[in-house]
């Protein structure tokens, strides 16, 4: 069990706020931390890693990482950490990046095989694509066989196809190494696919703590099928109006009448919903 009870004063973009988190995480659990930017997600992760100070207590599997007296350094915590910008050692080849952490050549080879990077092991980071870099960073985080893996928006800089591939890699590694994983993300599909639990932060405190399904499945009354998107444009076509809405990576069209068309402003967040028996699902 990881028990976290921390407080830290943050100087946010808008105003001062207090990060005040009190939460327990089970061993082997895959937890996602979601929330708006500036809600304290990354800071929480950095406090867990020992990269930032905080008041309070962190107790990890019976060991004190932080209390009034102790504040273990990042070196002493033995965690794995995946940064959003990869943070690979630019002066080392792919294989050396892994071996710098731990000289276990077999483990390095195994990880590179799992993520299909073996052929690239002598390449340098600046010759790799974003997805390849993040796979290297992922492998590197496993080299110390950490008990806790922390990931700070690991896939947000990648394109959708590469995200899906890396989500698969993360799941493969998570299952093999059975480590407790905490991942900051704001992609609901990613959280749904990977995490068993999602903690939503708002202004430095926990606003929701539940399963991804409960947090993200937005149903209202009899409308069982709701998607959130951004209104990109409203086009007038004869007597009707067509709203162009971006939902995730997709663009959809919805018919509006003129009074509806006037009630929306372009750029606002909208929900597109229908009864669950109307949509047709088919394989592509």
């Amino acid at each position: 069990m990881i028990k976290i009870s921390i407080q830290k004063q943050l100087h946010g973009a808008k105003a001062e706020m207090t990060l005040d988190i009190d939460v327990s995480i089970k061993k082997g659990e895959f937890v996602a931390i979601a929330g708006e930017s500036g809600s304290g997600k990354t800071t929480l992760l950095r406090i867990l890693a020992g990269l930032e100070n905080a008041n309070g207590k962190i107790d990890v599997f019976g060991k004190q990482w932080l209390n009034g007296k102790i504040n273990k350094t990042p070196q002493e915590r033995g965690i794995g950490f995946v940064f959003q910008d990869y943070a690979l050692f630019a002066n080392m080849s792919v294989e050396k990046n892994l071996l710098f952490v731990n000289k276990d050549k077999d483990l390095a080879q195994h990880l590179l095989d799992l993520t299909q990077l073996s052929e690239l092991k002598n390449r340098y980071p600046n010759t790799l694509s974003g997805g390849q870099k993040q796979r290297v960073a992922l492998c590197r985080a496993f080299m110390n066989r950490p008990k806790v893996l922390l990931m700070d928006e690991p896939l947000s800089a990648l394109d959708p196809l590469m995200r899906t591939k890396l989500q698969h890699d993360i799941l493969t590694l998570y299952k093999e190494f059975e480590m407790t994983t905490i991942m900051v993300s704001h992609d609901p599909s990613e959280i749904y696919r990977l995490a068993q639990r999602v903690i939503v932060l708002k202004q430095g405190v926990i606003a929701k703590d539940s399963t991804p399904k409960e947090v993200f499945l937005k149903t209202k009354g009899s409308q069982k099928f709701t998607l959130q998107g951004e209104l990109l444009d409203i086009i007038k076509a004869d007597v009707i109006h067509i709203a162009i809405v971006a939902i995730g990576q997709q663009i959809v069209e919805v018919i509006l009448d003129s009074s509806e068309a006037q009630s929306f402003t372009i750029g606002q967040s909208v929900a597109v919903s229908t009864k669950a028996f109307s949509p047709i699902i088919s394989a592509i």
């Binding site: 950490f81 940064f83 910008d85 943070a87 690979l88 960073a137 590197r140």
Partner: protein
Amino acid sequence: MGELDFEPFLLSFKLAGITTLILFFIALPLSWWLSQTKSHFKPFIEAVVSLPIVLPPSVIGFYILFALSHNSPLGSFLEDTFGIKMVFTFTGLVIASCFYSFPFMVQPLQGGFESLNKNMIEASYIAGKSKFTTLLHVALPNIKPALLTATIITFAHTVGEFGVVLMVGGSIPGETKVASIAIYEAVEVMDYTNAHIYSVIMLAISFLVLLSVYLFNHHYTKKAGIIV
């Protein structure tokens, strides 16, 4: 025209080489600390380090002369205890040059360290590596252009110093008479031929040194793509 004497050049390069070597080892930990620290003292230390850039060389020379002469406690201690005479000696010149060229070593290194991706340094700490190992294996290999700039500029700047050398070293042939002093003296006795030759050599060497720095950095930046 007297016979051309190359000893001042050899002396200049010897002085610059020793100064650069000493300063590298002093400036490396300091610039690393400056790049990583959140201490309130940082601006004060940065200001002190940069002083030689703005101070007239005569001021630095005067203070060093004052501190090292046998009239001062330090100077008399060194002379009485170890028999080391600092003023008008090569040793004294090395010490003076270290003060004079210090910012030229610290600033490029600090700039190089500060431009490194902070997460890369943190990734090394998280991997369990000490600050020293991180400096040696992660930070230093990734600031090669800054490293080259720092050492070359320090070297070149020491070769080019005049005021401090004149005050602390005087002009003792084979001991403290470096190239810049030799040129000054040649002009003073109206030996313009030698002054010309010396000056052209200095000009050519300085240009080549700077050109090599810029060529390397240009090449390195292109090869490395985007350096974060």
